[in-house]
Amino acid sequence: MNTQTMERRQHYLNVSYGIRSWLFTTDHKRIAWLYLVSVTFFFFIGGLFATLIRLELLTPQGDLVQAETYNKLFTMHGVTMIFFFLIPSIPAVLGNFLIPMMIGARDLAFPRLNLASWYIYSIGGLFTLIAAAAGGVDTGWTFYTPYSSIYSNTHVVLTVVGIFVTGFSSILTGLNFIVTIHTMRAPGMTWFRLPLFVWAHYATSIIFVLGTPVIAITLLLVGLERVFHLGIFDPELGGDPLLFQHLFWFYSHPAVYIMILPGMGVISELIACFSRKRIFGYEFVAFSSLGIAVLGFLVWGHHMFVSGQSLYAGMIFSLLSMLVAIPSAVKVFNWTATLYKGSVSFDAPMLYALGFIGLFTIGGLTGLFLASIGVDVHVHDTYFVIAHFHYIMVGSAVMAYLGGIHFWWPKMTGRRYPEAVARVAALIIFLGFNLTFFPQFILGYLGMPRRYHVYPPEFQVLNVMSSAGASILAVGYVLPLIYLIWSLRYGAIAGMNPWKAKGLEWQTPSPPPTDNFDVTPIVVHEAYGYETDEPQAIYPPGKPLHV
């Protein structure tokens, strides 16, 4: 297919132009682009805060910024990265773009709700940016009372409103996905022929829908307490700060599974495609997603082992936290087994996938340190915890996001990214990441508390190593931004299926037409049928196959 025919053929990008065609679109693919741009924007804002934090921690004394500013920096880093990048990134960008195509539908069940979800996300983002510009908030992204509700005199209410509003964008996305996956699968697309990417997003949507409302009401109560001096968490009136922690972590722990489950969905697709083999134990990987989503709701108390929670509750939460690790282990073993006797190629997405498995294994195992309650007493609220969750969020979730972006870039843009520099960028990110966060495990066990602006001199060398790694990581993250934008104009033209991947999204042109398929395909084969040449779905006889 030479460049001329590609330009003339109509697809979702050239069907209409102008700002109105983007701001009022209900096409799930264009909404995915709206999210891609805004999510990338917030990623680099959060990254800026992270850079300042790492620069400050180069020296034991607080000489770059004052304590007040440092507290605002780590708070805004947490809020921006979690609520405005990690939670929406894979579901709202890749999920929005791909789920309708993967199940053979023309769009999500409620396209207008999908656009509303992006607007709500942007309004919430605006509130948080105004709060940051007006002076920021210094309560930590956890907003623990009574500091957040009584003692802090920063822009808590403005930020809380921003996160409260953004929560509804997650709820709408989750609702859209659940209804779409239930009611709009193409004929023949049974539940066990669904790609694991769709299973992972179904499990994530369960958390979106059942968890997000709880943080909405919790932050609302904190806001009410600050504005109208209600006395819900006020210890002066007999209020219990632990009640806030229970309500907060009831959502915020499942939220970390919102961040990782979509990434696991992406990795299942990448490992299958680049080892050209069926996923080992498809049902086990699918049900482990659901297992993580459900068990994820039972374990939040491990954030409160030392907080004055009763010992017996601590024991129950420790036991349940051990159980939630099992489905993740099952996934890792199944991915590794998929490589066996495969035909493994090392394109950039596969490098991200292999990196994901290694880093996610370390992240998951260090989670067991925090779940076994005897050790958690020592490492709670230290840099050990920081290293653990960055191995999961940055080492796994961001790697999976970048792997997914690279893998589906040809489908989204019709262009190929430059392979060589992409592989170099993946290696730089892998090295930079490990140098940044592995020293923090050691710092954690040494006892360096988190959120410290000033630290004892003996911790300096490890902190300098971590900051050095952070600079490499920053370089690693800027590279994809550059060459992916470059590829929009100069990238090689990608055909319908550059990776020879299975899955319905690869059986329609790149970039796909607005309705994804000229006619609804009929699914005839299992997912990941790499052992045959036949596509997973066929078009009803007599209809012209879209050239």
Partner: protein, 315 residues
């Protein structure tokens, strides 16, 4: 030799046990992490794509393997759970005869008081070989008393007592951190735990003269606030008798029974209506605002000292 520490020193009775569990966890993690990495590298290299139209066999799965890598991790995690839980019980159950020290955390400083009355700011002198129990509360936000060398930490909550205990085994000075974010100077709220041989500790303790013990300070406060008008030693007064109360089970008006620990006494001083002893009218006024956190701790120490032998001896 490195010029900077890679591992915290062990200075408490529980430190070695925490480190043992930590080493077990590290070894399990290193084993599985290297196992996965080796498998990935071996499979990736051995089965790398040699020609474009390779079509590997379809291996759908293997139930035996699935059961294996579900049951084995489950077994290992259960070992971790039981070991961790047992250790947790030891860490959070102070022995009976421990030295009772009270800690009041305030935005960005630690106020420590010994039973003999000695007051310290951001410092805590303790003898080796003796369990020390800290009863802690906060005057404003949540703090957390964390001594890495002892491997112990407990949040300090406003409106309630929380306890932590440790038994120092090695003399020396150890870092004290506040590990729960508590505002601007959170990273400045640090201190020193000075562990001394018992002999040197006694000389240090008696070094400061003219200081009254917490119990007697509590007794003075008990009289000044006129508690003794209702809480008579004979028990015939309008308030329940307090002699020998501490640690006993108390029958409440609504049928519940609670143990009279520090939290119960503190709550009964500040929120008397919350738990009313059976057979007594709910007439006790609240003393909130009339007595400071330190004052309450002194009254609690006084009530603890009111054992039957104690009162006989005093008579």
């Amino acid at each position: 030799m490195l010029g900077f520490p890679l591992f915290p020193d062990q200075a408490s009775s529980v430190a070695a046990r925490v480190d043992a569990l930590f080493y077990f966890l590290v070894s399990v993690s290193v084993f599985f992490a290297t196992l996965i990495c080796i498998l990935i590298i071996v499979f990736a290299v051995r089965y790398r794509r040699r020609s474009e139209n390779e079509q590997p066999p379809a291996i759908v799965g293997n139930l035996g393997l699935e059961i294996l890598w579900t049951v084995v991790p489950l077994g290992l995690t259960m070992v971790m759970f039981v070991w961790g839980a047992k250790l947790f019980f030891v860490i959070y159950h102070p022995p009976i005869n421990s030295l009772e020290i009270t800690v009041v955390a305030k935005q960005w400083m630690w106020k420590v008081q010994h039973p003999e009355g000695r007051l310290e700011i951001d410092e805590l002198h303790i003898p080796t070989g003796r369990p020390v129990k800290l009863t802690m509360t906060s005057q404003d936000v949540i703090h957390s008393f964390f001594v890495p060398a002892f491997r112990v930490k407990r949040d300090v909550l406003p409106g309630r007592y929380t306890t932590v205990w440790f038994e120092a085994t090695k003399a020396g000075e150890y870092q004290l951190f506040c590990s729960q974010y508590c505002g601007t100077q959170h990273s400045g709220m640090v201190g020193r735990i000075v562990v001394m041989e018992p002999a040197r500790y006694q000389t240090w303790l008696s070094g400061e003269t003219a200081v009254i013990s917490m119990a007697s300070a509590g007794e003075k406060l008990f009289q000044r606030l006129a508690c003794n008008t209702c809480h008579l030693e004979s028990g015939a007064g309008r308030g329940p008798p307090l002699v020998g109360l501490f640690g006993k089970k108390v029958q409440l008006q609504n049928g519940q029974t609670v143990t009279a620990d520090e939290n119960y006494i503190r709550e009964s001083i500040l929120e008397p209506q919350a738990k009313i002893t059976a057979g007594y009218a709910p007439i006790m006024p609240t003393f909130k605002g009339l007595v400071s956190e330190d004052g309450i701790m002194q009254i609690v120490a006084y009530i603890k000292s009111l054992t039957h032998e104690g009162t006989q001896a005093k008579k």
